[in-house]
């Protein structure tokens, strides 16, 4: 999911139609009952894709939550998605982080690998290269915690497959614009 055009093309990107692109969209909403259902219902009802979606309260005083979602579509569809999101009554602000200037994107994953002997040592060695941390270990398993771009996580998980990968839990992308400006 390289959203930097100059960057490497991830395998997922290849499944897109020409003109379609992944976009990371941030949505600031009132943290009230049903708000997530409204956003998700809009996507399913209108046939838009959701690659990933993250939501948490970010302002406890104003009771605001921030939803970060990754979707794909042609420029016309992305424009529609933004307009449709803005139409929802509890939505304060919508920002397309992919086009509205540079941004930072991160994802966190917990990755469980089971193995003994050489494979176990190898997984630890690769984890070290990728700067993944061990957050749990037993005699025959590790749980690695890793933060980074989606591509980096994909690459690490790919390498763990032959070494005994058994479970993955990922947060999905969170993102924020670079520089001094707030959303």
């Amino acid at each position: 999911m390289a959203r930097d055009v100059s960057g490497p093309v991830s395998p997922k990107e290849i499944t897109l139609e020409p003109q379609e692109r992944y976009h990371t969209i941030a949505v600031l909403v009132d943290n009230e009952a049903g708000v997530l259902a409204r956003v998700i219902g809009l996507f399913s009802g209108r046939g838009y894709n959701i690659e990933s979606l993250v939501v948490a309260e970010v302002d406890t005083e104003e009771k605001l939550s921030r939803i970060t979602l990754v979707t794909s579509g042609t420029p016309m569809v992305i424009e529609q998605i933004k307009a449709q999101l803005e139409r929802l009554v509890p939505v304060h602000k919508v920002m397309d982080l992919t086009v509205d200037g540079p941004s930072v994107e991160r994802e966190l994953a917990l990755i469980k690998v089971r193995g003994t002997g050489d494979k176990r040592v190898e997984s630890l060695r690769i984890a070290d290269i990728f700067r993944a941390r061990v957050v749990d270990s037993t005699a025959e398993s590790f749980v690695f915690e890793m933060t980074g771009s989606t591509d980096k996580l994909d690459a690490f998980i790919e390498l763990m497959k032959p070494l005994g990968l058994v479970d993955v839990s990922r947060t999905g992308v969170v993102a924020i614009s670079r520089g001094t400006r707030p959303m």
Binding site: D30, A83, V91
Partner: protein
């Protein structure tokens, strides 16, 4: 003065009153009994008891569309709320302001599959502009005021407020509407001046300009229709409108080309296909208008005025989007046009009009009335003639009769024409007419319907009688689901699967059994007398007009065809128009 403390149901009634509500369309049940009890003890707000909750929603739509004020519905939990879903969806599609209060089981029972519990906010989320579940009586007044604000502002729509029974019993604080300012929802009314100047420049330079208006003009209020009329006359350019926009420009004006779209006139559709500058005003490029998208008006530069940013570039990519309320934007356009001191390219526009007049001369709405069966078009022309002195409002149901009514009944003013456009809801016509009549007790309210549609909300005849709403049901009875039969004839080899209305009632007797006057006409010569009697009768009437069962509605753009590719003739011959093609 400290805010008054009162029961939840008193808060509801007070909030409605402060919002200027004079009538509620509703139906009682367990979860709303406290509200009904409170209502019983006051006489400032009138309650119209319906016979099915769907009827209440369409009445509220008719009321809203003919007055510009939000219609109010009150129904009970569970089945009351689910019965309202069709009308809510209808109002959503046609941008009709409505506030629907639904009862809900007590808060401690929510989620327990309690008796008559339904997840009303869950079910209605996609078919409302917004909805609320009020769990605290102290939020009730604010929520209701907010509901009216959301329903009425920007692009209007239906809003549901779900009120658990214990909340309507509990005591809480009342707050007045003035205290409410919405946190996030503030639609943009003024259009961007640079875009407006650009649009006017394009219009001044246009050789083959075209106005394409829609329901948004009606929703914006009567001022928008006046300004549109003024601007169109100032320019001298042709104008068409969608089904929803009929009446926003006078149909008696020579610049009017008739309705466009699937059953629009030849001249309106070909002018859309051939224009070089198109101004869409409060219209949304629906598939019934555009036909095949890749063939839609390919040669034109498109200006789109709409209050809802999500309408822009949804189906058709436009060149100059102007987000704002039609009235504000049109007012600015007129100013900019006048200030420019320039005039339209009169030679080019004259040539354009002579092309349009050629298309017009095809007379695409022609039909032949012999001495045999009554042609539905003829029935409508007689209705138009015999009701023209009256202050008339028209509602319709859905089908051929709806399209003929749109083609043959002229509207010179907005808010006079109520029809289910976006959703195409059979059963809309009669309750909508009752809603209009409640708002305009002294006017003539006519429901043009078909026998299949009428049967879908026939129970509301009882409401019409009880509430003394003398609606005139003009039933174009072709004993078919005519529109379905027409598609089957043209597209499915004449296999009329289930489109014949078997075992129809005797509509005269049916009318009489409700205490309604029943009339019947089966020959052209009987029409005038029946229509006159219908109009002059004091109470509600069903006029059963037995029309030619085989008549088809033309012109027609078959689904999936380009909008210049119209069927004109009664024999269904395809007439691909070369001059239309040549224009693009």
């Amino acid at each position: 003065m400290p805010n008054a403390c009162m029961s939840g149901s008193h808060i509801v009634l007070k909030a409605l009153e402060d919002q200027g509500v004079d009538v509620i369309f509703g139906y009682p049940g367990g979860a709303v009994l406290p509200l009904y009890d409170t209502m019983f003890q006051q006489n400032r707000i009138r309650h119209v008891l319906v016979r099915h909750e769907q009827g209440a929603t369409h009445m509220a739509e008719g009321y809203a569309r003919s007055t510009g004020k939000a219609g109010v519905v009150l129904v009970t939990s569970g089945p009351g709320a689910t019965n309202a879903v069709t009308g809510l969806t209808d109002a959503m599609m046609d941008s009709i302001p409505m506030v629907c209060l639904t009862g809900q089981v007590a808060t401690h029972l929510i989620g327990n599959d309690a008796f008559q519990e339904a997840d009303t906010v869950g079910i209605t989320r996609p078919c409302t502009k917004h909805n609320y579940l009020v769990k605290d009586v102290n939020d009730l007044a604010r929520t209701i005021h907010e509901a009216f604000y959301v329903a009425n502002s920007g692009r209007p729509g239906p809003v549901v407020v779900d009120i658990p029974k214990d909340v309507s019993i509990a005591e809480g604080e009342y707050v007045a509407p003035e205290a409410i300012r919405h946190k996030t929802y503030r639609p943009q009314l003024k259009g961007d001046l640079t875009a407006i100047e650009q649009a006017v420049e394009l219009l001044l330079e246009a050789k083959r300009p075209m106005f394409y208006s829609g329901g948004g003009v009606v929703n914006s209020g009567p001022a928008a229709s006046q300004l549109l009329t003024e601007f169109v006359r100032l320019t001298g350019y042709p104008i068409t409108s969608t089904l929803m926009g009929l009446g926003c420009f006078p149909a008696s004006d020579s610049q009017w080309l008739g309705m466009l779209g699937m059953h629009g006139t030849y001249e309106a559709n070909l002018a859309m296909a051939g224009c070089d500058v198109m101004v869409a005003v409060g219209a949304r490029f629906d598939d019934r208008i555009t036909g095949r998208l890749d063939e839609f008006s390919k040669g034109s530069t498109k200006i789109h005025i709409d209050i809802d940013p999500s309408s822009i570039n949804k189906n058709v990519q436009v060149d100059v989007p102007i987000i704002g309320d039609c009235a504000h934007v049109l007012e600015d356009m007129i100013k900019v046009w006048k200030a420019s001191g320039r005039k339209a390219d009169s030679q080019a526009v004259e040539d354009w009009w002579s092309q349009i007049d050629k298309w017009r001369s095809r007379n695409s709405l022609r039909y032949e009335q012999g001495d045999g069966l009554i042609k539905p078009q003829y029935a409508l022309e007689r209705l138009r003639e015999l009701s023209k002195e009256k202050d008339t409002y028209v509602t319709t149901d859905v089908g051929q009769h709806q399209m003929w009514a749109a083609q043959f009944l002229p509207f010179d003013k907005p808010n006079r024409w109520m029809t289910s456009g976006g959703l195409g809801t059979m059963g809309y016509g009669l309750p909508a007419a009752i809603g209009v009549q409640v708002a305009h007790p002294d006017s003539t309210v006519i429901c043009v319907t078909g026998e299949a549609s009428l049967m879908m909300c026939i129970q509301e005849l009882s409401t019409a009688v009880q509430h003394r709403t003398p609606v005139k049901i003009f039933l174009l009875n072709n004993r078919y689901m005519g529109m379905v039969r027409q598609w089957q004839e043209l597209l499915h080899g004449g296999r009329y699967a289930e489109s014949y209305m078997d075992s129809l009632p005797d509509f005269v007797k049916l009318a009489e059994s409700f205490g309604v006057t029943g009339l019947i006409a089966s020959k052209p010569g009987e029409l005038d007398k029946v229509i006159e009697e219908m109009i002059e009768t004091d109470g509600p009437v069903i006029a059963d007009i037995q029309v030619d069962p085989d008549e088809n509605c033309f012109p027609m753009i078959p689904a999936g065809s380009a909008h210049y590719d119209m069927l004109l003739g009664p024999n269904g011959e395809a007439e691909v128009n070369e001059d239309g093609l040549a224009m693009v």
